[in-house]
């Protein structure tokens, strides 16, 4: 795109800037659209769980215009900054949260090679940047000048900082199996049938996936780990004093990070853009995105990725509307007493497994079967 | 155990403090002198055959008639009556314990009458006594936390006194 624009526009720096802006806008649209879809999804899923209909009228069928309507309503709300607040930090905090949630999209691949910024440390980058989101929450909670907000901020800090440890340990397992921190590489390594997915690689990765799921829910602050905004205890936690647009921004950040952890789960454990049946591979569409067939294959991959991610988000929503909230000490116990040792054990187990039985359970079984078959077919050759 | 036998049971140790009793009333009651109230309460709670472990309610009743003519017809001089409704969950019997306090301490209209608290006997009395203090204006001695409970702390007067008049204004709020 940059080359195209450079050819058209005379000052190249302008072309460069515009190209950059377009790319940013594209990503922003993805982040915001996903948030809007998830808000609608949350309303619908929660309504169905609660024996209601949810939005039905706004925008015709299924209330699909509900999120924009919500957004419009929230934009029209009075923007309140409490007298006791630290005005600068109060204003800045939502943007920090949203920026970090948005920056993660930079390194998140949507299909084979379809990633804004292909880093060879993609996983690490995502973990590092996603970790900054909590900073906005802490800042917002502190700057509100309200005790409930401060409580929310402190809980968020304690919780998210703790859960980063098992989360990172879980993420290390697929990295270890691939031998790369490049998310595209990790995704491609799971190509083929669904048996190649890392979640089915060996028993240890299977457990790791569930530990990852737990920690991911916790690190996005969703129920049953939504202690930072526990409405029955802390009014609304760090969000207590926020209203209107700033509140929306925090909300967007929450939904964006839900998307990110689900997408990360899809890439790391569920085969990413590789469907359960390698349709693209069976049709010999190729994997080079520059060719037409490769493009179609990638579109299929994008569909796969989105289905998996949305399914993950739906599960998170389902959890939220089913379970009561844990208490802070229980949340910390879950993390430090169960998740961290379990994740460490699974890491060690996965290391052992790859050492003893490389290629995964099913691949290994198939391999040994082939060897056995070969041995039966050609016993004489073997002796030579 | 009915009220009569309870009265008989109490009359041995507490005869000088027992004032009256009505065992035929809808709710049989025993009236005691206010000096003896805490001791009798403790006795009622602790004796194995009495075992009044549940204090339901403390009611303050202001017997007073602001109208001079009607006041002349009153049977008894103006006073405040405190009614303690008790029951026993083990023996399933009930009792209304009454005591009388003057409307003002030493007839000085600014001083509230005093009576010993039974909150050390039944913790339930703690809040009920605060309520009686708040609404009827009876001060309970030895109470751990004698504050108003329903009205604001800076409220003037005790609403359930018969001669209570609503203040015309409270913090700029017109009340009439």
């Amino acid at each position: 795109m940059t080359e195209l624009l450079t050819n058209i526009l005379s000052p190249s720096w302008l072309a460069y800037a515009i190209a950059a802006a377009i790319q940013c806008a594209l990503l922003l649209v993805v982040a915001l659209a996903s948030a809007a879809v998830f808000i609608w999804l949350e309303r619908k899923v929660s309504a169905r769980i609660q024996d209601r209909l949810g939005p039905t009228r706004v925008g015709g069928r299924f209330g699909w215009l509900q999120p924009p309507a919500d957004g419009l309503k929230l934009l029209c709300k009075e923007d309140i900054i409490p007298a006791a607040a630290d005005r600068l930090l109060f204003r800045v905090a939502p943007y920090i949260s949203f920026c970090s949630a948005f920056c993660v999209f930079l390194a998140l691949p949507f299909a084979n090679g379809w990633v804004a910024l292909r880093l060879d440390v993609g996983v690490f980058f995502i973990l590092a940047v996603a970790g900054i989101e909590v900073f906005g929450v802490i800042l917002g909670g502190y700057a509100s000048g309200s005790k409930w907000s401060l409580y929310g901020a402190m809980r968020e800090a304690a919780q998210v900082v703790s859960y980063e440890v098992p989360l990172a340990l879980c993420v290390v397992v697929p990295v270890l199996l691939t031998g790369s921190m490049d998310l595209v590489e990790i995704g491609n390594r799971q190509a083929g049938w669904f048996t190649n997915w890392y979640v089915l690689h060996d028993p240890f990765t299977f457990v790791t996936f569930w530990v990852y799921a737990t920690c991911a829910v916790a690190s996005t602050n969703r129920a049953p780990f939504d202690l930072a905004e526990a409405e029955s205890e802390l009014v609304a936690g760090f969000l207590t004093e926020y209203s209107g647009f700033r509140w929306v921004i925090f909300f967007m950040a929450e939904y964006a990070s839900m998307f990110v952890v689900s997408g990360l789960a899809a890439v790391l454990f569920l085969g990413g853009w590789n469907g359960p049946i390698p349709i693209a591979g069976l049709l010999h569409l190729g994997s080079d995105p520059d060719t037409a067939t490769g493009f179609i294959a990638n579109l299929l991959g994008l569909g796969n990725f989105l289905i998996k991610t949305v399914a993950g988000v739906t599960c998170v929503i389902w959890l939220r509307w089913t379970l009561p909230r844990l208490r802070i000490d229980q949340v910390m116990t879950t993390c430090l007493k169960y998740c961290v040792p379990l994740a460490s054990a699974m890491l060690a187990g996965a290391v052992l497994w790859t050492y003893l039985c490389p290629g995964g359970l099913i691949a290994r079984a198939r391999h040994s079967l082939t060897i056995a078959a070969e041995q039966q077919h050609a016993p004489t050759q073997e002796r030579k | 155990m009915n009220a009569q036998s309870i009265h008989a049971r109490l009359s041995r140790p507490f005869r000088p403090w027992l004032v009256a009793g009505d065992f035929e009333a809808i709710d049989p009651w025993i009236e005691v002198k206010r000096e003896g109230l805490p001791d009798i309460a403790r006795y009622l709670r602790d004796q194995r055959d009495l075992w009044f472990d549940l204090l339901h309610c403390i009611t303050g009743v202001d017997h007073f008639e602001p109208d001079q003519q009607k006041a002349a017809q009153m049977e008894r001089p103006p006073h405040i009556e405190l009614i303690y409704h008790l029951s026993s969950t083990t023996h399933r019997h009930r009792l209304a314990l009454k005591t009388r306090v003057p409307r003002f301490l030493e007839e000085e209209p600014s001083r509230l009458p005093e009576v010993s608290s039974v909150s050390s006997v039944w913790s339930a009395a703690e809040w009920h006594e605060r309520e009686v203090f708040d609404l009827c204006g009876v001060f309970f001695l030895n109470h751990p936390d004698m504050r108003r409970i329903l009205c604001p702390e800076d409220w003037v007067g005790h609403p359930l006194r018969r001669d209570y008049r609503l203040p015309a204004e409270y913090h700029g709020i017109q009340s009439r």
């Binding site: 690490f124 973990l127 402190m154 980063e164 | -």
Partner: protein, 204 residues
């Protein structure tokens, strides 16, 4: 305007942000704002690393320093905050002391920087960008005990001795575990006391 040096532009941008917010940390008198500025400053340094294509280092910078500052902030609020917005004012003496210490450090760094001959003049972008291979892979392999950069060592006996940074890595890990355990031990409830007495102790 044909050849605008974007690399240089972003370098300057991140450098100025880093320096400006570092100054702001010094000048600010509110502890939370200080921490906030510090985070921005460290984030800009991470940006510099990304610019130099050292993504691993950049991510580490974000995770360790920015995350660390967050913890600092939490402790700052929890342990020092009196009233809603804690403020720290610096006296004149402190300013002088800080200026002397900071100036000495700056002088030393400048001297060191100018003494590197390669840095005397800016290189072209092409030269700077010519970093072959992925740095993180080499670093990762180094941590796991394989020194990719020393493979040209012809003597096998010498190569065996260079087992990478595995030992250092292990020591740091064990150290961190010990620190974690220690922190957990410190934060643990220890003595049993009568509640009332404890409460009285708290009241000055």
């Amino acid at each position: 305007m044909e050849a605008i040096n974007w690399h240089g532009f972003f370098f300057l941008f991140f450098a100025i942000v880093a320096c400006a917010f570092a100054m702001a940390v010094v000048v600010a008198d509110n502890i939370v704002r200080m921490a906030c500025y510090l985070v921005v400053s460290l984030g800009a340094v991470a940006g510099l690393y990304f610019l130099a294509q050292a993504e691993f280092l950049g991510a580490v910078q974000l995770m360790v320093y920015v995350g660390g500052t967050m913890v600092l902030l939490v402790f700052g609020v929890m342990l020092t905050a009196r009233g809603p917005l804690a403020s720290m004012r610096t006296g004149g003496g402190q300013w002088i002391m800080a200026a002397i210490a900071g100036g000495a450090l700056l002088a030393m760094l400048l001297q060191a920087a100018f003494s590197v001959s390669d840095w005397a003049a800016p290189k072209t972008i092409q030269e700077q960008a010519a970093v072959e291979g992925s740095p993180s892979a080499r670093l990762g392999l180094g941590l796991m005990g394989v020194r990719v950069d020393q493979l040209e060592q012809p003597n096998l006996m010498l190569r065996r001795g260079m087992s990478g940074h595995l030992l250092a890595f292990e020591i740091i890990s064990v150290h961190l575990v010990v620190v974690l355990v220690g922190a957990a031990y410190l934060a643990r409830a220890k003595r049993r006391l009568d509640h009332k007495q404890a409460k009285d102790d708290q009241r000055p």
